[in-house]
Subunit: 331 residues, 2 copies
C-alpha cells in the first residue's frame, strides 16, 4: 500500500476538548492543519464512534488545507489521552473522555474510515517522541519528558526507544510519591508530585493562602482555578505570595527530577506543558538548578541536559507523525 502513496503522513492529537490534525512532510514540516472540538456542543456524550467520525473529518480537512489528496497520505498517527495498546490500536480508557471507560478500537475504526494505515499511542508518549525527533531532545539517545499543566504527565525514551510499559501505562511521573503524608492528589493518594508541583496544585495553594488572608495582588474568583498566564504576570509583578508558592513548587520539581536521574541516568530531561511554557526558560533554569544540587552521582553532571520543550502544542501531532512514518518499526 505504501508504494502507491505519497510521502506525507498525518498526525492527530485527540484531547478531552479538541482534535488537532496536521499533515507533515518527511522533514517534520507541518504543511496543513485543522482543529475541531472533540464533539459538537449539541452532543453531551462523547460516544467513541462519534469521536472517530470527527477525527476522520478533521484529518480530511487538514489534508485539504495542505492542498493534497488522501492518496498522498502514507499513514495516520493518532494520540489518545490514556493507555493505548500500540500493537492493536486499542485505547484502554481515556480519563478525559467520559464515554471511553470501556475502551475503544480507535486504530482499526479510524483506518476503516480513512482507508489508510493508522497507528495509535498515548498522547504524552507522542509528545515526548515529537520533542525527541524534532524538538529539544534532538540528538539525544534518552529523553525523559515531564509535562506540567493541570496535572503532570511524562514520557520515557531510553536508548532511542519509547518505554510504553507492560500495561501500556508507563510514564505516570505525576503519580509518584515525593512526600509521604503530603497533600492529597486528584487520584486520592498523598504526596504525589502532581499534588505538589502541577499548575493545579499551585492554584489550590494560592487560593487557600488568599482565603486565609495572605497579602497578594492576585485576584481569584471564588472556586475558579488560576491560569498559568496569571501566575506568570503576578510573578513578574513581584507578588510575594506567588513567589513563595512558586519557589516551593520549583524545588519539589527539581528534587523529583534528581530522583528520576538517579533512577534512569538519562542523557536529557525536557520540561514542557502549559505552566512551563508560560513561565519560560527562567523557570526551567530554576528547576534545573535544584535538580543538579540533588544528583546522587555528581560526575559529568553537566552532560545531563535539562531543557525546555521546543514544540509547544505541536509536540504530539509531530510525535504522531513520526509514529505514522515508522509504523511497525515504531514498536
Amino acid at each position: 500500500m505504501a508504494k502507491q502513496r505519497g510521502d506525507f503522513v498525518v498526525g492527530v492529537d485527540l484531547g478531552g476538548t479538541k482534535i488537532l490534525a496536521a499533515v507533515v512532510d518527511n522533514k517534520g514540516n507541518i504543511i496543513g492543519r485543522s482543529k475541531r472540538k472533540s464533539l459538537p456542543a449539541s452532543v453531551a456524550n462523547p460516544d467513541p464512534p462519534l469521536v472517530a467520525d470527527r477525527i476522520a473529518v478533521t484529518v480530511q480537512e487538514a489534508v485539504a488545507a495542505a492542498k493534497v489528496t488522501m492518496t498522498r497520505i502514507k499513514a495516520v498517527g493518532a494520540s489518545a489521552p490514556g493507555p493505548v495498546n500500540v500493537g492493536t490500536g486499542w485505547v484502554h480508557k481515556a480519563a478525559n473522555l467520559p464515554g471511553w471507560e470501556h475502551g475503544f478500537d480507535l486504530g482499526p475504526e479510524l483506518s476503516k474510515r480513512l482507508q489508510v494505515p493508522v497507528v495509535v499511542d498515548n498522547d504524552v508518549n507522542l509528545g515526548t517522541l515529537g520533542e525527541s525527533v524534532y524538538g529539544a531532545g534532538q540528538g539525544y539517545a534518552d529523553l525523559i519528558g515531564v509535562f506540567v499543566g493541570t496535572g503532570i504527565g511524562g514520557g520515557l525514551i531510553l536508548g532511542g526507544r519509547l518505554r510504553r510499559g507492560f500495561r501500556w501505562s508507563a510514564g505516570e511521573v505525576g503519580h509518584m510519591t515525593v512526600m509521604m503524608g503530603g497533600p492529597r492528589c486528584g487520584c486520592g493518594e498523598l504526596g504525589h508530585l502532581e499534588a505538589l508541583a502541577s499548575r493545579g496544585a499551585i492554584s489550590r495553594r494560592l487560593s487557600a493562602a488568599i482565603a486565609a488572608g495572605e497579602p497578594t495582588a492576585l485576584v481569584v474568583k471564588e472556586g475558579a482555578t488560576i491560569a498559568s498566564g496569571d501566575i506568570r504576570k503576578a510573578l513578574d509583578a513581584g507578588d510575594p505570595l506567588v513567589d513563595r508558592v512558586l519557589v516551593e513548587a520549583t524545588e519539589t520539581l527539581g528534587v523529583f527530577i534528581a530522583s528520576l536521574v538517579n533512577l534512569l541516568d538519562p542523557e536529557c530531561v525536557v520540561l514542557g506543558g502549559g505552566l512551563v511554557e508560560s513561565l519560560g526558560e527562567r523557570y526551567v533554569a530554576a528547576v534545573a538548578e535544584h535538580a543538579y544540587a540533588h544528583f546522587f552521582l555528581k560526575d559529568d553532571m553537566d552532560k545531563v541536559k535539562i531543557l525546555p520543550a521546543a514544540l509547544g502544542d505541536n509536540a504530539t501531532v509531530l510525535g504522531a507523525s513520526v509514529l505514522a512514518r515508522n509504523l511497525k518499526e515504531a514498536l
Copy 2:
C-alpha cells in the same frame, strides 16, 4: 578465540570485603567456586592492581575447584561495586573500595592476567540480570530488582535489556526522594528511600527508640548496628517496637514500589538483599500488599508480579556469567 575454548564461563562478584568466583556451565549450574577476602588482612590499602591480582587468583582457584583448566573458560564476567563502563571495562569508582576513587581499568587488567576476554558491569545490575535469567524473574521481559540491605540498590531490565544509564549509573533506587524533608540519608540528602526503609535505617530507628526508653526485648550494644537476623528474631517473638518500625518501613517500601510501577509499568519487581532474605516471603507479601494498594492503574494489577529474589548470594556471579557468555551482545 571462543572456538578453541570450552563452554564454561566464570562469574566474579567483587565486593568491599570479599571476592566470590564461580565456574558456570551453559545451564547456569555452578560447578566450582572460590571465595577470598578482597585483600589480605596485612594490607590496609586496597590498591586496584593488588585487588586485580587477587581476583585472578580467585578465578583460578574456582577453575581448579571445578576440575577444569583455564583453556575451557570462554570468558570471565566480573562485577564491581560502582558505575562501570561496560564497553571498556573501566570501573568509574567503587564506594566500598577506598583506593578506587580515581577509577580502574578492571576489564583489561583482568584480561591481561587471565588471558581470556573479561567483561565488567555494576554488581546490582548483574544481580538483577542473574535473577532475570536464572532466578525469580525467569520468563519476564521486564525486571526491576530492589535489593534491601545496609543500603538499597536497584537494577532495571526493561524489554529484555539492562538499563545501564548515560553515565553508567542507573538504578539508584535507594537515592530517590520519597519523603521531602524526611530523615537524612547517608549521602546527605533528606527523605531518600534508603534513609527510611534500608536495614541501616531500621537499625538506626530501633537504636534511637531504645535510647529513648521504648520497651523492647531487643538488646543493642552502644553504637552497634542491628543485624537482619536479630530483627527477624525480635519480630518472631512479637516485639512491639520492632513490629512498629518494620510496619513503617514496609509501607514506605510498598509506596515506593508503586511509584516505580507508575513510572515504568514493569512486568515484574523482585525484592532481594540481606533484609529481605532474613525476613522472608511474609515481608515480600506485606510490601507487595502496600504496593498494589497504591498502583495508579489498577487494571490488570495482579499481572504485575512482586516476588522475592531466588538466588541469594549467587545472583551476582550468575548474572556475571550471563554477561560473560553473551560478551558484546550484552551491551
